[in-house]
């Protein structure tokens, strides 16, 4: 056989050179997706009554397996170093492994909360887990993507499952409304994101993140209009997913309407995935252009911090309040993005990680308290909770205080680190706004805590009807009287009182805000049917809540392991 003939045959049927696939680098993603398919198969084959139970079991096993695989990856990356695999599409580094650990944990906690919800609401079986697992795998893809197209792929895998999850409770019309709003706005933002990718590709000639960084470091783009437009559109796409102001409009409605466990999942996983991709794209690929995008992120951060905190003050619906609070927290995480250095990235990663525990734990309590129908989200439902169920109230109080950034919780350190990163980056105004908004935010977290530690009966209103003249002192006094007035709250009276003092100090600084807060505090009439009735707490939800509280407190007191974890994730950052 002559060489030319051989060449001819080879040319006729050219073999595609498939890239070498390093399966360990995508193992948690494969486990999540495989677990989702396995749950569909098994739940289709077992009897109807067993479906939810089997689904929960398999989902827990899947999440634990993904967590184990992520930790194996962590050891592997620490030993052998970071690398780019699968034809440059996937980055296998500490950063991606960190996000995979975060998402695995969020998934595990969501399954624990979701089991009780599914049994109570009777809205369907393990489909919740299947969709959540797929969504989580999308967030993992976003975390390890090394190419703009792969980021988009992960974004869509994550979002499409979330749209369906938002509509999961078909007995609530709000759930369908939330899904429709999320779907329409989400598809729109995805389209904007893709257009951003196209413009960046047009300006740099590649969608691969290291190649873009390489191009930008070697070439000076004379007229960089296309590049800047692409950057702006990418930022809009990410801003939508992380619910940064002014791209936050969907979030209160969707958070309020979606089933409560799904809301917690959304707040944790969608944020983790989107922030991971945002950090990787902007800090590593467009690091050379930081002078252009830092001011935009600066503005987004300030708007998110202020708008989130101020609008949360006037919410009566706890889920809606938590939605605005989540916008405020996104603003804090943006501080780390804006700093755009190793310290900022580490602070943002730490924030995302500890926020996962706080928000899913909070929504575990919200889920349990909402009762059958998932409707009891009004603040009056929380009134007197400490007397009825002191453990549940204590757990929620700790998680809310952690979100407010009270010391000896992980939330304090998270806020401290991002603010320190902003100060290091000489963004003093931003750091000041962040601290002020944190003080404002303390009000609405404390408002729930005060409601819980007030007596359920009419006697609780005497504190609320205090004249609003002494604004700052009024809030502090109220918190103090509420804490000491509750007989069951002997253990918790201390932190609430202390936090009330902090709120009072803030009130002196911002009396206008204090007035507003007092105004909305006064109209909490407890409904008689709620008073004196306890809600059943499923064992798995209690486990999730216990894990979240234990993590928040233990690693708030002993912060070194998690801080070190986040810091090492950035050291291995490609």
């Amino acid at each position: 056989m002559s060489p030319s003939l051989l060449l001819g045959v080879a040319a006729a049927t050219p073999r595609f050179r498939t890239p070498h696939i390093d399966y360990l680098s995508i193992l948690p993603i494969l486990i999540m997706m495989g677990g989702a398919v396995a749950i569909v198969v098994v739940s289709s084959l077992v009897r109807r009554q067993l479906r939810t139970g089997v689904g929960t079991l398999l989902a827990i096993v899947t999440s634990l397996a993904a967590l184990g695989a992520s930790l194996t990856q962590w050891a592997d990356v620490a030993d052998h170093g970071a690398k780019v695999t699968i034809a440059g599409a996937v980055a296998y580094d500490g950063f991606s492994v960190f996000i995979q650990v975060t998402v695995s944990i969020a998934m595990l906690l969501t399954v624990l909360v979701g089991d009780g919800y599914l049994r109570r609401e009777d809205v369907g079986g393990p489909e919740l887990y299947v969709l959540a697992l797929l969504s989580a795998s999308g967030a993992m893809v976003m975390g390890s993507a090394n190419d703009l197209i792969v980021i988009f792929l992960g974004l869509e895998i994550m979002s499409i499952a979330l749209y369906v999850l938002a509509a999961f409770n078909h007995r609530r019309t709000e759930s369908g409304e939330a899904a429709l709003k999320y779907f329409i706005l989400g598809s729109f933002s995805s389209a904007i994101f893709v257009y951003g990718i196209a413009l960046v590709y047009g300006a740099t000639g590649s969608t691969n993140l290291p190649e873009i960084a390489d191009y930008l470091s070697k070439n000076v783009v004379a007229s960089n209009g296309v590049l800047l437009a692409g950057l702006a559109l990418l930022l809009v796409g990410f801003g939508f997913k992380i619910a940064a102001v002014p791209f936050h409009m969907w979030s209160p409605d969707v958070y309020q309407g979606a089933p409560s466990p799904v809301t917690g999942f959304m707040a944790a996983v969608a944020k983790a995935g989107a922030f991971a991709a945002l950090l990787r794209v902007f800090v590593s690929s467009f690091g050379a252009e930081r002078a252009d995008w830092q001011p935009i992120v600066w503005a987004l951060a300030i708007l998110s911090l202020v708008v989130g905190a101020v609008l949360a003050l006037s919410q009566r619906d706890v889920k809606r309040m938590l939605a605005y609070s989540s916008i405020n927290q996104a603003g804090f995480i943006l501080l780390g993005v804006q700093a755009a250095d190793g310290r900022g990235v580490a602070a943002s990663l730490y924030y995302v990680f500890v926020y996962t525990f706080m928000i899913i734990g909070t929504f575990a309590v919200v889920t349990v308290l909402a009762r059958t129908g998932d409707r009891g989200h009004d603040l009056s439902e929380y009134r007197g909770l400490a007397k009825r169920q002191p453990l549940l109230a204590g757990a929620l109080a700790i998680l809310l205080l952690a979100q407010a950034g009270v010391p000896f919780t992980t939330g304090f350190l998270a806020k401290f680190q991002v603010v320190a990163a902003a100060v290091d980056a000489h963004s003093y105004a931003l750091a000041a706004v962040a601290m002020a908004s944190g003080a404002i935010a303390a009000f609405f977290y404390l408002r729930v805590a005060i409601a819980m530690y007030s007596p359920a009966g009419a006697s609780g209103d005497d504190a609320s009807h205090e004249p609003a003249g002494a604004a700052g002192a009024g809030v502090g006094g109220e918190a103090g009287s509420a804490g000491s007035g509750s007989p069951a709250g002997s253990g918790m009276a201390d932190p609430v009182g202390a936090a009330g003092g902090r709120g009072g100090a803030v009130g002196v600084a911002a009396p206008g805000v204090a007035m507003l807060s007092l105004q909305v505090l006064t109209d909490e009439a407890p409904s008689p049917e709620v008073a004196g009735r306890t809600v059943p707490v499923p064992a798995l939800a209690a486990t999730a809540l216990g894990l979240a509280v234990a993590f928040t407190v233990v690693f708030g007191i002993v912060p070194a392991p998690i801080v070190d974890f986040a810091h090492r994730a950035t050291l291995l950052f490609l």
Binding site: V37, V40, R371, R375, D378, S380
Partner: protein, 171 residues
């Protein structure tokens, strides 16, 4: 700038297509519009004063979904078959994984009764808290201790209705 010419051409073609569709439909469509009486549903000659509900079984959606599942599978199978030899073993394994996942969705639909046209055996209760016992208890006025739903605050309020209206506004 030459490489952007096809995009421009595509935009022009798209606009032309939209415009020509309107022109064509206005030229070809019948000029006589149907009157209101013509499009109204026929109810034995009586003029309907409310819009009658149009009913058709929701199972048709499930059948449509089965169709879409296999439609999508074919959409991906066809280009794969064209380059089957070039892809080699890797391509074969990948398409088997894909077909397996598609088959799982079919399994899911069948297990949910998409292909069972007999009368449904598993009717899910719309309101689990309402049973015939609870209705008897509600009418007779004494609350039934066996009723699992939220306790009846006042005898004239249905438990499910009370839960739906929200606890905040109860007497």
């Amino acid at each position: 700038m030459d490489q952007y010419l096809p995009i421009l051409v595509l935009i022009v073609l798209g606009l032309l297509f939209a415009a020509l569709s309107f022109v064509g439909s206005s030229m070809l469509a019948p000029k006589k519009r149907p009157t209101a009486a013509k499009v109204a549903p026929y109810e034995c000659g009586i003029v309907p004063d409310i819009e009658p509900p149009s009913r058709f079984p929701v199972r048709f959606y499930l059948v449509a979904m089965i169709f879409i599942i296999f439609d999508i599978e074919i959409v991906f199978l066809y280009p794969w078959a064209v380059v089957f030899h070039q892809l080699g073993t890797f391509g074969l394994v990948e398409i088997l994984v894909f077909a397996g996942i598609v088959f799982v969705s079919f399994l899911y639909l069948v297990s949910n009764g998409a292909l069972s046209w007999a009368p449904a055996k598993h009717l899910e209760r719309a309101m689990p808290s309402r049973t015939s016992d609870s209705t008897i208890a509600r009418i007779s006025g004494n609350p039934d201790p066996l009723a699992s739903g939220p306790p009846v605050a006042s005898p004239d309020v249905e438990p499910a209705a009370a839960a739906a209206s929200g606890p905040g506004q109860a007497a």
